[in-house]
């Protein structure tokens, strides 16, 4: 999916969660699990996540979006995407 037409919150969360699980492989991953603090991912993952987000949802992540709190949980990522997609 490479469009920023309307998609539901649940679909956003599902796509993000599936992507993270491909790398984190943690069955107890919740929407509040801090994926960076748990050490499940490598230092390269942050850029991977950004590339996935930009390509999948057709948005551009700006410098002001680049705070760790925007990317450390499924919920935070979803919230960021909702803001970017709706704008």
């Amino acid at each position: 999916m490479t469009t920023n037409t309307y998609i539901g919150d649940e679909e956003i969360s599902d796509q993000v969660r599936r992507f993270i699980l491909t790398f984190a492989r943690r069955r107890d991953l919740t929407d509040e699990t801090d994926i960076f603090e748990t050490g499940l991912i490598t230092s390269m993952f942050a850029m991977q996540l950004l590339m996935f987000i930009e390509k999948t949802f057709g948005i551009t992540i700006d410098n002001e979006d680049l705070t760790i709190n925007n990317f450390n949980t499924v919920k935070h990522i979803t919230d960021l995407l909702k803001r970017k997609v709706s704008s």
Binding site: T42, S43, A46, Q48, K55
Partner: protein
Amino acid sequence: METERHAEYRRFATSVIAPRAATFDQNQCVPREVIHEMADGGLLCSMLPRPYGSGESSVGYGLLHEEIGACCSSLRSMLTVHDMVAASIWRWGADWQQQRYLPALRSASVIGAFALTEPEAGSDSSSISCTAIERNGGFELSGRKMWITSAQIAGLFLVFAKVNGQHAAFLVDRESDGLEIAPVSGLLGLRASMVGELRFRQCYVPATNVLGSTGSAFTHVAQNALDLGRYAVACGCVGLARACAEAASDYASQRIQFGATIDRHQLIRRMITNMLVNVEAARLLCREAGLLRDQGDAVSIYKTAMAKYFSSRVASEAASDAVQIHGGNGCAAGHPVGRFFRDAKVMEIIEGTNEIHQINIATAAAALLHSAERR
């Protein structure tokens, strides 16, 4: 189109760089005018969109590094870090930073260098100890950076330091007060890549020279640049391994022992065959990584790591066999394989050691295997 560009890259490398590569290595220096010749040929910042670059594809960019890497790994390394700085400014820089620095980097009026590594922070690059303290509308940088390619001639450094424990990236001019640069010589390989140490003693950098946002400098600014660097090194290793295969094949076709050219002997043939096959395999890995990069596919980051890991090993093995095939001649000046051997070893260390890549690639096993299923 890509074939024409590839031919131009090869022409430039073989006519401009190859005849001088041994001298660069011997003198531990790449003259600045060579960088300008590259700039005149449109080879700097080629991966950026016009007018800051040539709009080159990732695959094409890889071919550029293969061709230059086949001739001179030192110069290819300098091109890599220069472009890493340019790519960082393009991706994360404010408009005015792009307008100020990108044309200068494109024309080589400024040479860029990437300053992350420290004496106590190599593979563990997030644990840098360089600090930046807010002061007088800017920051004072303190600390050291080590093994900085092009440091001896760079005019612009992309420096990573911590602000209150958070990673930040700074664009630092060479002439900044409080910045000392010491050359590092006598390296095993990449001897001509003008490596140096940077020493920051309360070096003042204006706040406007922060690149990107504080807190994301390591995870995004550095990682994005390192990803490009890995790809360039991977493709450069393909060139280096190819050069080893060419040198070994040429030598073996002329050297006579036991009444025949040594390429008639089976054990020599085995080494040459292994080189040829591995070069092709490495090139295909690099090409796949390049195609995925052009598609913006997130798995490209691990594909690039795979390409770098494999290609650097291929280059090292090819260089070792090339020296072996040359025998005593391979250990003496006058044949390039000795330089290839030294350079190849360094390739297994820079832009992520083989061991780090082995650790990281395995963490993405599920994603990589799933990616393979989709193709």
